[in-house]
């Protein structure tokens, strides 16, 4: 086991992927000499050369569009969109081209493109640097959406995403880029669990918290704090939010009967809404109370000083847990 930051784990994953398959090329703004604004692609230019590590012009639609052309030619492009808020110019190429070409051509043209996006907030960043646009892509048939919450998953899932013949939007929680964790660099990829699987990161019996990305560690913190109150909370890291591994989720809900879904992204028509609709369909008779969402508010991402009032934190999650457990909570007041 090696201790790596999430950023370094991604770097290692890219390195492995490029080593294993010469058709893997990475492209994006500032990813070559600079090694990326977050240094995720650090060292790769020296190792693999400018033909495979491509600094692109400042044009997101152009980056994704040319990646489409490279995919036509049989390459496996890994695109970096510099920040979540900058993905929108590329939205048309992603939704109208990348997502549809396999289907349109009945599989004759494959789009094994991975689009890496530094994602979400919590770092007090400037405008447009803290977005959570994943719902747009979850809603887009034809692409898969993967999120990672820890260095081991970052290392492994990125390689799996690149190896997949399907296009993958790969969200990396930027606030965890510098967080360390154990990574098994030697475990063969072939032995790894499939990319689409969710993981129960903490077992519990009283309620299930379903989440992904940086919110996983917030949920784990909430579960720890809840122990002091005698609560046993189960935390699931979805990892794949399109498709969602409902087998794992449903098994948990059948055990606990109580559900809280948490994400940074805003509430309306977000991923939590989808998960809850699906969970309700599948587990209605097991639910002891209505499943609840803990999300960002339906506001444009607020300025840095107000960020902490927008992002779900330990207390908001536990308030929702109290609600699903019929304990005193913010809606009922201090007394039951």
């Amino acid at each position: 086991m090696t201790q790596l930051t999430l950023g370094k784990a991604l770097n290692a994953g890219l390195h492995q992927a490029m080593k294993s398959d010469e058709k893997v090329v990475i492209m994006g703004e500032d990813i070559g000499k600079l090694g990326g604004v977050f240094r995720i692609t650090d060292g790769l230019l020296d190792e693999f050369g400018a033909a495979r590590v491509i600094d692109t012009p400042l044009a997101e639609s152009g980056i994704v569009g040319t990646a489409v052309g490279l995919a036509y030619r049989g390459y496996r492009p890994v695109v970096e969109i510099q920040f979540d808020g900058f993905v929108y110019p590329a939205f048309d190429q992603i939704v109208s081209q990348v997502a549809k070409l396999h289907y349109r051509t009945q599989g004759r043209v494959k789009m094994p493109i991975t689009i890496r996006i530094p994602w979400a907030g919590g770092i007090g960043a400037a405008e447009h640097h803290s977005e959570s646009p994943e719902a747009y892509f979850v809603h887009t048939a034809g692409v898969r959406v993967i999120t990672v919450s820890n260095p081991q998953d970052a290392y492994r899932c990125l390689q799996q995403a690149i190896a997949s013949d399907d296009p993958v939007i790969f969200f990396e929680p930027k606030r965890l880029y510098h967080h360390k964790g154990d990574v098994d660099l030697d475990a063969p990829l072939a032995d790894a669990p499939p990319m689409g699987l969710a993981r129960v990161v903490r077992a519990g019996t009283d309620a299930t918290i379903i989440t992904y990305g940086a919110m996983v560690s917030t949920a784990l913190d909430a579960a720890s704090a809840a122990e002091d109150e005698g609560l046993s909370l189960e935390v699931i890291d979805l990892r794949s939010i399109s498709p969602v591994d409902y087998d794992t989720v449903a098994a948990s809900v059948r055990r606990t009967g109580r559900v809280v879904v948490a994400h940074e992204a805003s509430r309306e028509a977000g991923v939590a809404a989808e998960v809850i609709a699906s969970v309700t369909e599948r587990c209605f008779e097991y639910l002891e109370s209505a499943p609840l969402r803990v999300t960002g508010h339906d506001v444009p991402y607020p300025p840095a000083k107000l960020e902490k009032f927008h992002l779900p934190d330990l207390d908001r999650i536990l308030d929702a847990v109290d609600r699903v457990l019929d304990r005193p909570n913010s809606l009922t007041g201090a007394e039951s």
């Binding site: 012009p57 152009g62 489409v68 036509y72 081209q97 289907y103 349109r104 009945q106 399907d166």
Partner: protein
């Protein structure tokens, strides 16, 4: 190569400054830049080009008819653009890869599309007309200009492998306003990718005249990106071929991208849903009739004594046969079964779609046979 430095908006003047080898009345003109590129084109070859254009026009007319008869949902006619499409497409190497828009029936034809391929998408049976890897043509592109980026990416791959192939992309005058087309030229020039941009300036983007897109000749834009360009008479099949050969050689020899603006005219509507009488001057249409590409090359060949009525009739007979084949293919298409809706969304197994397919299959099984 040419580029104007002053804005021009008069079509008549436009054309006199475009590269040309055959005048509208059929006279052969000398053009020192282009002549060498078509020195090998003998009358036999010219007759073939003529026949190609006759067949193309006939297929195009049949497409319109089929739509009017309810057999196709839509058709995008290319009437008037035969020379631009056949001339350029016949210059391609089989190994080259084309990224068209949705109006390049002539290009598909030249690349060897089968009769059904022309109608399969417009009839709504499938999303792509043929196997792109086989025909070396990407599927039709309705998102204006998106295909230009794909061509550039493809060309970047070619360059990476040091191969002698060229990626070619076709688009219209309207498309040149789209960000993607401009980004494509940025990328192409930055990487010196072996890609040829073919803009068919047919003067109209639905109801918007080209002056709305640009006050300046479109070919004048490319050099601004660092890409050499040529403005050619799009109704002169010989000049189009020559220009394309120049551009392809440029790219193939590793000199980077090239741009051609073929100045032509969209004689018909934008699509079968459009009514050009609402926005076009009938006089303008008439003036372009006198520049007809097929009549031009016919006049040229007649002037050389290299085509007679019999040969022309034979070309038309071939055209009628091709149209009949296309019609038969169209009418004979069998729509896929309902569950085909779920096919090939993903390359790899996908739990979400598998479940939806199963649920829908169960739902369908509740009905009596349709």
């Amino acid at each position: 190569m040419s580029s104007q430095t002053t804005p021009i908006t008069d079509p008549a003047q436009d054309l006199s400054l475009a590269e040309r080898l055959v005048a509208p009345d059929g006279r052969r003109l000398s053009n020192p830049e282009l002549d060498p590129f078509v020195a090998d084109i003998d009358p036999a070859r010219l007759r073939e080009l003529h026949r190609d254009m006759v067949i193309l026009r006939r297929l195009d007319t049949e497409g319109v008819a089929l739509q009017r008869q309810g057999q196709l949902g839509l058709w995008a006619p290319c009437n008037g653009q035969e020379a631009a499409q056949i001339g350029t497409a016949r210059a391609l190497d089989p190994i080259d890869f084309v990224f068209p828009s949705y109006r390049e029936t002539g290009v598909l034809y030249a690349r060897g599309a089968q009769p059904g391929d022309f109608v399969r998408v417009w009839r709504g049976e499938e999303g792509a007309p043929f196997d792109p890897q086989q025909l070396r043509v990407a599927p039709l592109q309705i998102i204006i200009g998106a295909q230009t980026l794909h061509a550039v990416g493809y060309a970047m791959g070619i360059k990476h492998e040091k191969a002698r192939e060229v990626a070619v992309t076709y688009f219209g005058d309207g498309a040149t306003s789209q960000g993607d087309v401009n980004e494509a030229m940025v990328f192409a020039a930055s990487y010196q990718a072996p890609v040829v941009f073919v803009c068919q300036n047919n003067h109209w983007a639905i109801s918007e005249p080209v002056a709305v897109q640009s006050q300046f000749p479109i070919s004048g834009r490319a050099p601004g990106f660092g890409i050499p360009s040529m403005r050619v008479d799009g109704n002169d099949v010989l000049a189009c071929m020559a220009a394309m050969r120049w551009a392809l050689a440029h790219a193939r020899d590793g000199k980077g991208p090239a741009f051609i603006e073929a100045v032509t005219y969209r004689m018909g509507p934008h699509t079968t849903s459009d009514d050009p009488t609402r926005y076009r001057d009938p006089e303008e249409l008439d003036s372009w009739k006198s520049r007809d590409p097929i009549a031009r090359v016919e006049a040229y060949l007649r002037g050389l004594g290299e085509i007679d009525d019999e040969q022309i009739a034979a070309a038309h007979a071939d055209a009628d046969a091709a149209a009949r084949e296309m019609r038969a293919e169209c009418l004979g298409m069998v729509t896929r079964k309902p569950l085909a809706v779920f096919d090939e969304v993903y390359a790899e197994p996908h739990s979400g779609i598998d479940r939806q397919r199963d649920e829908y299959a169960a739902y369908l099984s509740t009905f009596e046979e349709a």
